[in-house]
C-alpha cells in the first residue's frame, strides 16, 4: 500500500472516530439529567422564557432531529454558544489551545530528553548501578499520580525552599502571603504583576527587543507543570526504550554490524536505537489519551490556563456546548497525532507498507 493510500485510509478511520466521539457526547447529553433550558438560564427564569428557549434551541423536537441538527452544525463548524458565559464555544476553545499545546510539548520534550538517554544507558549497562537507578526511577514515575507529584513539587519548591515568586503555574502568587492556596486572582506573574505571556509572544519580545525577560518568565512558569506532566511519560519511555533496546541488542544483525567493523556509536544509535524507537513511537501514539488526561489534571493543580482547566470548569457547570467543543477538539488532536505517528512509523519501518 502506498503512503498516500495509507494516509487516506487512516484519515477516513479518524473521521469515523471523531463521529463516534460526537455521537457519544450527544448520547450522554441526551440521557444526562437536568433540562438544558434551565441550565442555560439564570435561576428563577419565568416559565415562558424557558419555553421560548426550548423552542429556539429545538429542544422540543424528537431526539433524532436534534441529533441531525447537532451533527449538521458541527460539520459546518458551528459549535454553538456556552450556556454559562454565552460566548462562542469556538473562541473559548481556541484561546485556550496555545497554553495546553505549550504544556504538552514542554512535557514531551522533558520526557524525551531525559528518557531516551536514560533508557539507552540502562540497556547498555545492564545490571549495573545506573541500570538499577533508571529502573527504580521509571517504576516510581509510572506509579506516582501526577496531581500528587505536582502538589509535592509545589510543597518542596514553594513552601520548603520558599522561592518567593512562582516558579510554577500561573497563579500561585505567593504562598507565603496568601492564605487561600488557590486564589482566583487571575494569571499574574509575581512580583512583576505582569500578565505572563505565551511562548510565541515571548519569542516575539526576544526578536523585537532582544530581551529574554519574557522567555525567562515563561520558562519559570512552565517548569514545574511540564515536569509534573512529563514524569509519567519520562518513566514510560525509559521503560520502553530499555526493554526494546535489550531485545534489539540481542538480534543477529547487531553482531553482524560489529563484525563488519562498524564503529560502536553507529551500531548503537544508527541501527539499534533507531529500530528501538519504532515500537516506542507507536506506544506513544496510543498513549496520547493519557497525556491529554494528564494535562487536564496538571492544569487543575497549577491553575494553568489551558483547555483542561476550561474543561473542568465546563464539567462543573454542566456547560454542554463548551464540553462538546473541548471534547471534539481533544478527539481531533488525538486522531491527528495518531495519524502522524503512523506516518512516522511507516517512514521508519519499511516492512509496514508491505502489509
Amino acid at each position: 500500500m502506498s503512503m498516500a493510500k495509507f494516509l487516506v485510509r487512516r484519515l477516513l478511520q479518524g473521521i469515523v472516530v471523531i463521529w463516534g466521539v460526537v455521537t457519544i457526547m450527544f448520547g450522554l447529553r441526551a440521557v444526562a439529567p437536568g433540562d438544558p433550558a434551565n441550565l442555560m438560564l439564570a435561576e428563577g427564569a419565568t416559565q415562558e422564557l424557558v419555553e421560548q428557549v426550548r423552542r429556539e434551541e429545538g429542544l422540543d423536537e424528537p431526539v433524532y432531529v436534534q441529533y441531525l441538527d447537532y451533527v449538521r452544525e458541527l460539520v459546518t463548524g458551528d459549535f454553538g454558544y456556552s450556556w454559562q458565559s454565552n460566548r462562542e464555544v469556538e473562541a473559548m476553545v481556541i484561546e485556550r489551545i496555545p497554553a495546553t499545546i505549550e504544556l504538552t510539548i514542554a512535557a514531551t520534550i522533558v520526557a524525551l530528553v531525559i528518557a531516551i538517554p536514560l533508557g539507552v544507558i540502562s540497556a547498555t549497562r545492564r545490571n549495573e548501578p545506573a541500570d538499577y537507578g533508571a529502573t527504580m526511577f521509571s517504576l516510581l514515575g509510572i506509579s506516582t499520580p501526577n496531581f500528587w507529584l505536582g502538589l509535592m513539587l509545589i510543597l518542596v519548591f514553594g513552601v520548603w525552599f520558599g522561592i518567593p515568586y512562582p516558579t510554577f503555574g500561573l497563579s500561585w502568587v505567593s504562598l507565603a502571603s496568601i492564605s487561600v492556596p488557590f486564589p482566583s486572582v487571575g494569571f499574574y506573574d509575581f512580583p512583576t504583576g505582569r500578565r505572563p505571556v505565551g511562548f510565541g509572544e515571548a519569542v516575539r519580545t526576544l526578536v523585537r527587543y532582544g530581551s529574554v525577560y519574557d522567555l525567562l518568565v515563561w520558562l519559570k512558569h512552565i517548569a514545574l507543570p511540564a515536569l509534573t506532566l512529563g514524569t509519567y511519560f519520562t518513566a514510560l519511555i525509559t521503560r520502553l526504550t530499555r526493554s526494546g533496546m535489550v531485545d534489539e541488542l540481542g538480534k543477529p544483525y547487531v553482531t553482524a554490524s560489529q563484525a563488519k567493523g562498524l564503529p560502536s556509536v553507529l551500531v548503537r544509535y544508527k541501527h539499534v536505537l533507531r529500530n528501538t524507537m519504532i515500537p516506542v513511537i507507536t506506544v506513544l501514539g496510543l498513549q496520547m489519551g493519557t497525556l491529554m488526561g494528564g494535562a487536564v489534571i496538571t492544569e487543575t493543580v497549577f491553575n494553568w490556563p489551558g483547555l483542561g482547566l476550561r474543561l473542568i470548569d465546563a464539567l462543573g457547570t454542566r456547560d454542554w456546548p463548551l464540553m462538546q467543543g473541548i471534547v471534539v477538539f481533544i478527539a481531533i488532536a488525538f486522531v491527528t497525532i495518531n495519524i502522524a505517528v503512523d506516518a512516522v512509523y511507516n517512514y521508519l519501518d519499511p516492512r509496514v507498507s508491505e502489509q
Binding site: R126, D247, L249, G250, K251, P252, Y253, T255, A256, S257, Q258, A259, K260, G261, L262, P263, S264, V265, L266, Y269, K270, H271, R274, N275, I278, L348, D349, P350, R351, E354
Partner: protein
Amino acid sequence: MTEEILRVSDLSTRYFTQEGQVNAVSSLDLEIERGEVFGIVGESGSGKSVTARSVMDLIEPPGEITDGEIRYRNPDLVEAIADDHPNAIDGEFVKLLELPDDVRRSLRGTSFSMIFQDPESSFNPTLTVGEQLAEAVEVQRRASATPRSTRARTESAEYSLGSLLLSNVFPSRRYVSEESRDRAIELLELVGIPDPVERADEYPHEYSGGMLQRAMIAQALAGEPDVLIADEPTTALDVTIQAQILDLLDDLQRETGMTILLITHNLGVIARMCDRVGVMYAGEIVERGTLEDVFDEQIHPYTAGLLGSVPDLEGGATRRDADRRTADRLQPIPGNVPSLLDHEMDDRCQFADRCPKAMTACLEHPPEYPAGGSDAHRARCVLAEREYDEDAALSDGYFDESKRPVGDEHAEPAEPGTEPPEERPQQPAENTGGERQ
C-alpha cells in the same frame, strides 16, 4: 609456499551462566594457512561458532575468553603498532588478545570478516541493503586511508555521537560517502545480484534468502579481509541455493586467494570446499588433517560417527533429493551432545559416554596423537596409538550408572540472546547446527 596466517593456541572461552560455568571452547589449538579453506565441523553445541566469534572478538558477556592466544600474521600491522603495543608483537605475528579493544575492533571488516548463518536476521530490516554494504565499504575506506598508522586507523574508525548528530543536519558529514555507495553496487554485481543499482535501494525483506546471503558475502568482502569466517553460510538456505552460494564462495576464493575458515555441521559442505578439516566435539578439536585424512583414514570414532550419519558425502552439497537427506538422519550418533557445564564435565575423553569403542584408557583425557595419512593428521583419541581392545572396553551402562545421563540438564544462558543459540548444549544429536529445514 605456505605460511600460517592465524595461529590459535590454547584458546578457552567460557560462559558464566546461572547454571554454572559453560566451557564452550577448551584449550583449542588451530593453525590456518594463508589462502586455504579450513573447515570446522561438528554437531551443534560443539563450540564451532564460539571459536569463530572468539577470533572476531565478538564474545559478549556472560561469555569471556579466559585463556590462550590468537596470533595473526600481518607485518604491516606489526610495524604500525610496534611503538604503542610492543608486548603484542611476536615476530611477524600480532597477539590479538594483547591488543586493546579499539585496535581489535579496527581489525574487524578489514582483517577478518564474517558471514552469518541466517542472512535474514543478520541484516538490519530498516536500512537498505545498499546502505548496509556501503557502511562496510566505508569502514575499509577510512581504515586504508592511512594504513600505516594504527592510531589513524583506530581514530578513523572512531565516530562519535556528536558526528552522528551533526550528520543529520549536514549531509556532507554522513558516515557513508557516495564512493562507498558506488562500491557497494559493484560488490552486489560481483556476487551476482541482477540489477544491482535498483537492488541496492531495496530493503532486506525484499530480497530472497539466497540473494540476501549473496549480499552478506558482498558485505564481508567489502573490507577486503585477510580471513573470511563463514559460520554455517548455507544452513538456512534451500538445498538448491546452498550449491549456488558454495559455488560463489569457491569462485571468490579462487579469484582473490583469500583465506576462509568455514564452519558447518554439514560434512558435504566440508568435502566440497575445504583443504583441511578440524572435527570439533565438546569444545575441542578431536581430529584434524587434510580432507583425505579425515574422510578416508579417520581415527576418532566420533568422526566415523559423523561420517556414518551422512553416508552420501560426495553429493552432499548438491544433492537435491530431500527424502534421502531425511534417510541420512536415520543413523545418528547415539546419545546426546554433552553438557558443557564445568561441574558436569569429567576429565576424560568427552566422547567416551557415546563411543562404541570406549575403553578404560578413555577415562583419562587423551592428548593429540599423530595419525596415519598426511603429516597434518592428528587425533585426540587413544585409538591412534593402539587397537581397540574388547577386554578393556567399558560396559554399556557405565556412564549411566556412575552418574545421571549427561546432557539432559538444560544449561540456559543467563540472558537469552547473548550466547549464540547454536551453542546451547542441550539439543539432541540429530538436531544439528540449527538447521531450519
